[in-house]
Subunit: 342 residues, 2 copies
DNA sequence: TTGTAAGCGTTATCAG
DNA sequence: CTGATAACGCTTACAA
């Protein structure tokens, strides 16, 4: 009915020990690359392991070690593209290791946020977690991880923590560049659609905007600054408002691409030519940016690189130090921004 | 230094047993809602559990039970939006249960696909997996799950398996409706951008297209059928080709939104008015659809409902039967399709 | 209805 | 360098 070896059952450490004629502890040492091991013994055991296709049982290891080989991704899904990009980057590093990725969306509005995350971390005994914005801005979560002895890395739009716990994009500088681009094109009256209050990224981007204007000696006119929610609809509403104002801007910087798409919509509704009548710049370089018409000038931040760095920081104490904590974004110039017609 | 109870250490089943003055087995019975249990005992133990905040250690349970409380999401990431939507739907059901979601991207091109998944399933001893298209079309994977005693549900664009193992959208019917919509608007020459060969969804959508044409007595002209890759660039290329043809279509059905965005781009390049000169219909109703200008008429399939049904099928043997396996898509009429001008 | 003993597959301790 | 032996926290026999 069956042919070789123990048929269906996967071999355990005991099987290997018996086959190799050593104790299970020795096998364990081989598995864990213990340095104090006779080279011959190691080779012999390794051979058996290879031959049998033995793989240590993660559940048993987790129990004995009191910690799991799991990396958690905790987020509040502000941006599907970003979350998935992060996942891919993490998994690229995790692949080939014994670690698995476990995903945990949470509700940042909930008063029990910290308690929820605590329960999750305690239960699963994660090796480490990556906190995505905006919940990464919550210092309580960082403290919690520290307390629980769970490695953590926060992702954010500014340095919120020490380098080993941080991968940050420099949003402020990136926006400064983007706005400088508009100023360089000749724009003097530039509108802003901000992100929602309370988001650090919104604050940073707004600051970069203000700084760029100040550096160019341009006025920061609150009448052409509108707060958005990072959603398309809010961009649409903001665009309508801005374009209907007495003295409409010739360019609008939207704090993310989704809102920029909304602004573009508003421009179309009024029959405006983009970029002739209105230049638009977004932020994030999500998929939509290149697919809009005209393709959107925007800021791209290195999700892949940041995710990779985060994963390495989470996995390995030693390599962590070597990884950068601050990442530079890049202005992607497409067709949605040009010189003002008037 | 510390105040109450065992300070830092989480209570174990032994602590609860001692505190309640019963054996650990009894506590175990309470945890697992064993029916043969004195109501009084149960209450007493439950009380202690609540008071101490005891939570059973999942790793220990996994070891003893030889199976993990993990649900896997195995995919090849053809569509970020869909993957994330699926995740959300699964997690909504998993939330509040003891199950966690573990994400596993794979490479469908790899010759070791089945072996990779096997290694993953054997190692993690998953409770169940959800296979997303296109790898869900691989019967080998389903057989594998069966062999390993791992529950599975396949998601696809047609019924590829028995209802308890399937959540399917009816792409063929949905496309038929979409194309009928175009025909109803007066279009007689309709182009098609297909998905890549080998994808069942591509086949189904193409079939629906052909059937709608046939039912209306319209010719299926291979010269205005172009194969795409489900990517924006392929839609752009296809659009250019179609619009440059001798007798260009007055409407184009693209087999997904991303390609539809590409077709729209191609139309813009030629200065065409949409929908005046060209009507465009997409498929998927991803975020981009509503954000394009003009907003895209497209087909929406019920990701959330499908994900929820899949999760329930994976979790519970009994409820599984009650869940539908076939889901109907919906034509979302926006502004990108209208009557032909000529 | 409840408890006892043994085991799940691994690692840590501490001798040899 | 290597190996008994006892954890890790829970469940499944099998008794009582």
């Amino acid at each position: 009915m069956d042919d070789d070896s123990n048929n269906n059952a996967k071999p355990t450490i005991n099987d290997i020990a018996r086959l190799a004629g050593v104790s299970k502890k020795t096998v364990s040492r081989v598995i864990n690359r213990s340095p104090l091991l006779n080279e011959d013994t190691r080779r012999r055991v390794d051979e058996i392991i290879r031959a049998t296709g033995y793989v240590p049982n993660p559940q048993a290891r987790a129990l004995a070690l009191r910690r799991n080989f799991l990396i958690g991704l905790v987020h509040d899904n502000p941006n599907a593209q970003m979350v998935l990009g992060m996942q891919q980057a993490l998994l690229a590093v995790l692949r080939g290791t014994e670690f698995e990725l476990i995903v945990r969306p949470v509700d940042r509005g909930s008063t029990s946020l910290v308690a929820d995350v605590r329960a999750f971390l305690e239960r699963q005994r994660l090796h480490g977690v990556l906190l995505l914005p905006p919940i990464s801005e919550n210092d309580g979560l960082a403290t919690l991880c520290e307390q629980l002895g769970c490695r953590y890395v926060r992702m954010g739009s500014a340095m919120l923590d020490t380098p080993e716990h941080m991968v940050a994009s420099n949003d402020r500088e990136a926006v400064r560049q983007a706005v400088n681009h508009l100023i360089g094109l000749g724009h003097r009256r530039i509108g802003l659609v901000t992100g929602p209050q309370g988001f650090r990224s919104a604050f940073e981007r707004r600051s970069g905007f203000a700084e760029a204007l100040a550096a160019a000696g341009l006025a920061f006119d609150p009448r052409i600054i509108v707060e958005g929610t990072y959603r398309f609809e809010s961009g649409l509403a903001a665009g309508r408002q801005l374009l209907a104002s007495e003295e409409p801007p010739t360019a609008i910087f939207a704090s993310n691409d989704e809102m920029a798409a909304g602004v573009l919509h508003a421009a179309r509704e009024r029959g405006l030519d983009v970029p002739g009548d209105l230049s638009i710049v977004g932020f994030d370089d999500t998929a939509i940016a290149a697919h809009l018409w005209p393709p959107l000038t925007t800021v791209r931040w290195p999700i892949q690189a940041m995710g990779k760095a985060a994963a390495i920081k989470l996995l390995d104490e030693d390599d962590a130090e070597a990884q950068p904590a601050l990442f530079l974004s890049e202005l992607i110039i497409r067709a949605s921004a040009g010189p003002p017609r008037r």
